[in-house]
């Protein structure tokens, strides 16, 4: 059970949060310009890696804010949290 440091509320139990999958996938600004393949790439393709992963989490039973998390999936350690719109910390590229 993670202890997640919500950027707005501080450390809270994982049960207050819901996970929203891979972070930094930007919805295309002009979907109509995209081919089926390009749209499918945005719509369906997600990474599932062993190692450092960028994820979206929502403090759904708290402040309801979405934010980003850097997590090492090999040991579940959360390395960093940062707000939506902020750039991922460079040391975890």
């Amino acid at each position: 059970m993670f202890l997640i440091n919500c950027p707005f509320c501080g450390e809270r139990d994982q049960s207050e949060f819901s996970s929203g999958g891979e972070a930094h996938i930007v919805r295309p600004k002009q979907p109509t310009e995209l081919s089926d393949d390009e749209w499918a790439e945005y719509l369906f393709m997600r990474k599932n890696i062993k190692g450092i992963q960028f994820e979206r989490w929502n403090h759904v039973h708290g402040c309801r804010k979405w934010f980003n998390v850097v997590r090492d999936t090999s040991n579940d350690k959360i390395l960093s949290v940062y707000k939506m719109g902020e750039k991922p910390p460079v040391n975890y590229k």
Binding site: F2, G20, P31, T32, W39, W66, M84
Partner: protein, 1000 residues
């Protein structure tokens, strides 16, 4: 009656005699006993039958690792518990226990025959035998296995006990109250860490607390005396909480641990009443110290499972802690020094004993002490066989060859009534591995140890492979100082004398002249697997430890292989000729010892099992005999039976009344989201398929929401309250998800939009009145409101007051009738409802439930998201192309509507179905085909909604059918179990296609 209680100890209160029943017979013990120690005091070793061969089995250990002494406690239908370890169960007045794994009784049972046919029950027996024929499984094999295995009985009635949950936060959690745990807790608490120390036993002290050997001393005191003093010290520390009778069940990531505290299991019946039985502690600790100790290993030799064969250290504990000797003529069989402590203790109490030691020689102080006491020691000898059916009565030993691979010389037969085994010690690394820690293998004494200690978790003491007292104390002190970044000097000058040494001669499977196939060298006592089974599995090609484990069932019983896993691994490594450390171990999974469901569930039973949401009108529905339907967490009236009506009759009456005169529905559960902000219109444009910018203030519009994959996600009516203020309604079940989805887009994709979302579902109660007389009823309630179609047309909104209370009234319709939804602040919902009912009396205003609502909307062909759709339907599949804006640049899911898959002509599409026999009602979910003769039958789709319409006097249905759009008028077949039903594809709208009734 024999009495094996041979001396007094401070842990047994001989002034408090306790009577208990075991297998129907009454015995006596004392306060302080466990069930196991009390049985042994009465000379009872035989406590069960083995799982597969039904061999007699006795008490083996004194703790959580016990594989044999598994009991059924109590016999009441609601208060009986299986799989309780007699070694952990504290004795109390009136305790009733029975041996579990034997039918009809422990001394004579039918399954014992398996012992003689055991050559027929090899590893994988169940997989090989009970596979074929298939029909035999349910009727023959399973009942047979269940009957003869009899792994305890579950209670058949609800558990009347009270269980509790509690969350706590600590700086430091110390697991285990032995010598290292006590030192760690003291150091932490004295240095301002808020500390919790838990131990599964009744008292602290671990195995040191009954240590009384003169050659093991701390500060010139017996180690037990020294430790008692330490315990007194730590009890004074204000920073330290101590929880005894508390065991850690699971160690999850981020130092989140579950502990079970036993509160009343040791109390007599009358003192248990109305008290919390067990509490589940949910612990978050910044740092965790694991000090769980180690357990002694058995030895693997022929017939090592007879009653009277125990772990050597357990014999010592029964003697020095409980005052009970396990026999009068004891043999200790060992490969290391620790059995000598037991031997000396027994000798001092006048119990005759001899030692058989695998080692060629040994010379520690402890051994010299034994020798000087005149205890006979057979070095370099091995036990090759044991005898005695219900209890051991003798054994044979032989000399070991130089390399230890075979036996040499002649058999020596020794008589005994008890045998102690000591195969060395296995560190309890369960907590470390549960937390995600890795293990290392130490070759010299063949143990797995915690590989690394992270910054927030550490193992100390014998669970970390430090076995002698000097090592334990020194290392623990150093490690804790470093771990907590403190400089505690309390143990700086502690003087420790420990004459035990660590050398041992490890042989996993002991040699024997008898071929292995003819021996019974048990590895897993509870699941009855032998060395032979392991070897057979290897011979049959199994290599992975996880596979061997499952194939032979080694380590898969309720003790999870606490005594057997290491031996299984060792024999696999030896047989396969690989190093044991390279094999890895099986996974240790929580719980460490079995937990009752009650503990896990806590207070969430009965009406607290699940959250229930009720509308403000709920009481009225109950009073008026509504049957309820669960919709998400909501209780919604399903229908209101009158005068003994069944559901069908009630729904027919309600549906007819709503169209003939007036009906009223509690619509409070519909999700309501308040949307405000200067970009609210733009936001709606992006989330719904249709256009919203031009919706006038005071008007309502139906919207369809898609997922980004183009599939219908939710629908509902949204009202423009003012320029920058909308009220969105969602489906009852979808409300929370819709809000989450909208928040997601708003916060992450479109943060530039000035929009605020608030869930107001619970803020308003809603009464929906429909039918030709609805306007008249509204007029009575709101006499000042101009209800004319010109002033208040369909799809518009007005505000008015009902006795000074503000109401929002939407003229919208889900039934096709003229219809008004009155919204009022929740607390007035009940009054509003009653006023509506009162005003509607003269118009036969009929309350209707969800079933009638579904029927009425189906007559009009309105979809229900989640019933007529299933996450694979696009608006076009639903024949709702009209609601998809062609002009809008973008909205959620737009691009997906012309992916190659979504534009296929042969997708499943929504159609209406009419049965050839108008009285025939289709079953929802029924398959639809065009030809029943072809094989395999081509499935075209299925029925999604089906009703008998009292207003049309015929059966109607909605269905999704492949290429259904082009099939109007076509005949199809619904094949049912005993008949085929003929149907014709129709339009989805069955009633009032021209929408005349909306303004009637």
């Amino acid at each position: 009656m024999p009495n094996y209680r041979i001396h007094k100890t401070e842990y047994i209160d001989e002034t408090k005699r306790v009577s208990f029943k075991y297998d129907g017979k009454t015995y006596f013990g004392y306060e302080g006993d466990t069930l196991a120690s009390a049985l042994l005091a009465n000379g009872i070793h035989l406590v069960g039958r083995s799982f597969k061969y039904h061999r007699p089995r006795g008490i083996v250990s004194c703790g959580a690792e016990e594989p044999n002494a598994i009991c059924q406690i109590g016999s009441k239908k609601d208060l009986t518990e299986p799989n309780v370890r007699a070694t952990e169960l504290e004795l109390y007045e009136g305790l009733e226990a029975s041996s579990q794994n034997c039918w009809p009784n422990v001394k004579f049972d039918i399954g014992g025959i398996n012992n003689f046919i055991s050559p027929l029950i090899p590893a994988g027996f169940y997989y090989k035998t009970f596979m074929w024929p298939k029909s035999f499984w349910k009727k023959v094999y399973e009942p047979l296995i269940r009957l003869s295995a009899g792994l305890g009985k579950s209670p058949t009635e609800p558990d009347p006990d009270i269980y509790d949950h509690k969350y706590v936060h600590y700086d430091v959690l110390v697991i285990g109250g032995g010598v290292s745990g006590i030192i760690a807790a003291k150091m932490a608490a004295k240095n301002n860490f808020k500390t919790l120390l838990v131990d599964d036993k009744k008292i602290l002290g671990g195995s040191t607390i009954y240590q009384n050997n003169e050659s093991i001393k701390i500060d010139d005191k017996l180690s037990s005396e020294w430790l008692k003093n330490e315990i007194q010290e730590i009890k004074k520390l204000s920073n330290l909480s101590i929880k005894t009778r508390t065991s850690i069940a699971a160690y999850h990531g981020y130092n989140f641990l579950l502990a079970k505290e036993n509160l009343t299991d040791h109390l007599p019946e009358e003192k248990k009443e109305n008290k919390i039985r067990q509490r589940l502690w949910k612990i978050r600790a910044k740092k965790v110290v694991i000090a769980t100790g180690s357990i002694e290993r058995p030895l693997v030799f022929n017939n090592n499972d007879r009653p009277g064969i125990l772990l050597s250290n357990s014999i010592n504990k029964y003697l020095d802690y409980y005052g009970v000797t396990c026999g009068e003529n004891i043999i200790l069989f060992t490969n290391n020094d620790s059995a000598y402590e037991t031997s000396i203790s027994l000798h001092k109490k006048g119990i005759k004993n001899i030692i058989v030691d695998l080692r060629k020689s040994a010379s520690s102080e402890l051994i010299k002490q034994a020798e000087s006491l005149g205890i006979k020691i057979y070095f370099n000898h091995v036990v090759t066989n044991t005898f005695g059916y219900r209890k051991i009565n003798s054994l044979e030993i032989m000399k070991l060859s130089e390399d230890g691979n075979t036996t040499v010389g002649n058999k020596i037969k020794l008589s005994c009534d008890c045998l102690g085994m000591s195969g060395g010690w296995t560190p309890m690394v369960h907590m470390h591995t549960q937390s995600g820690g890795k293990l290392d293998f130490r070759d010299e004494d063949q143990v797995f140890l915690p590989k690394e200690n992270s910054e927030d978790q550490i193992s100390v003491g014998s669970c970390n492979g430090d076995f002698d007292l000097e090592n334990i104390i020194d290392k623990t002190v150093n490690k804790i100082n470093k771990f907590l970044d403190i400089d505690n000097q309390d143990y700086q000058d502690t003087n420790i004398i420990c004459s035990k040494e660590n050398d041992k001669r490890n042989i996993w499977l002991l040699p024997n002249k008898i071929p292995l196939g003819k021996t019974k060298c048990f590895i897993d006592f509870q699941n009855d697997s032998t060395a032979k089974d392991i070897k057979l599995a290897l011979k049959e090609g199994f290599r992975s430890i996880e596979h061997v484990k499952r194939y032979t069932t080694t380590g898969m019983a309720t003790d999870q292989g606490k005594l057997s896993n290491m031996h299984a691994l060792g024999i696999i490594a030896d047989t396969a000729g690989v190093k044991m450390g390279t094999l890895g171990t099986t996974t240790f999974r929580p719980p460490f010892t079995p937990l009752t469901f009650g503990t896990l569930v806590g207070r969430n039973v009965g009406k607290f099992f699940e959250v229930v949401r009720k509308t403000s009108m709920h009481e009225w529905h109950v009073k008026n005999n509504a049957e309820f339907e669960n919709v998400g967490q909501w209780k919604r009236p399903w229908y209101y039976p009158k005068n003994g009506e069944n559901m069908h009759d009630a729904v027919q009456r309600e549906s007819k009344a709503a169209r003939d005169s007036a009906g009223i529905l509690d619509a409070s559960t519909l999700g309501k989201i308040d949307i405000q902000g200067s970009d609210a219109s733009e936001f709606l444009n992006r989330v719904y398929t249709n256009a919203w910018s031009k919706l006038a203030i005071g008007k309502c519009r139906y919207g369809l929401m898609l997922n980004e994959d183009g599939m219908v996600y939710d629908d509902g009516v949204t009202t423009r309250i003012s320029e920058n203020h909308y009220l969105m309604t969602t489906t009852t079940g979808g409300a929370a998800n819709v809000l989450s989805k909208l928040e997601d887009y708003l916060q992450t994709e479109w943060p530039e939009l000035d929009v605020y979302l608030t869930s107001v579902t619970d803020h308003y109660s809603t009464a929906s009145i429909c039918g030709p007389n609805s306007k008249k009823i509204l007029n009575k309630l709101f006499p000042n409101l101009d209800l004319s179609d010109e002033n208040f047309p369909h799809m518009s909104f007005k505000e008015d007051k009902l006795e000074n209370i503000n109401c929002r009234i939407m003229r919208i319709s889900f039934t096709g009738e003229q219809s008004y939804e009155i919204n009022i602040e929740s607390k007035y919902g009940h009054s509003l409802w009653k006023m509506c009912i009162e005003a509607g009396k003269e118009f036969n205003l009929t309350p209707y439930g969800t079933e009638t609502m579904h029927l009425l909307r189906a007559e009009k062909g309105f979809i229900i998201v989640g019933q007529d759709t299933d996450g694979t339907m696009t608006p076009s599949d639903l024949q709702m192309d009209w609601i998809v804006s062609k002009k809008k640049f973008d909205f959620i899911g737009k691009r997906s509507l012309y992916r190659s898959d979504t534009v296929r002509e042969d997708r499943k599409q929504l159609v209406g179905l009419l049965t050839d026999d108008p009285k025939e009602i289709l079953e929802e979910g029924a398959q639809i085909v065009s030809n029943v003769k072809s094989k395999p039958i081509d499935m075209l789709g299925h029925v999604t909604s089906s009703y008998f319409s009292p207003n049309l006097n015929k059966s109607i249905a909605l269905a999704v059918v492949r290429s259904g759009k082009t099939m109007k008028g076509q005949k199809l077949i619904i094949p049912m179990e005993n008949k085929n039903i003929n149907v014709t594809v129709s339009d989805t709208i069955f009633l009032d296609k021209e929408n005349k009734r909306l303004n009637a």
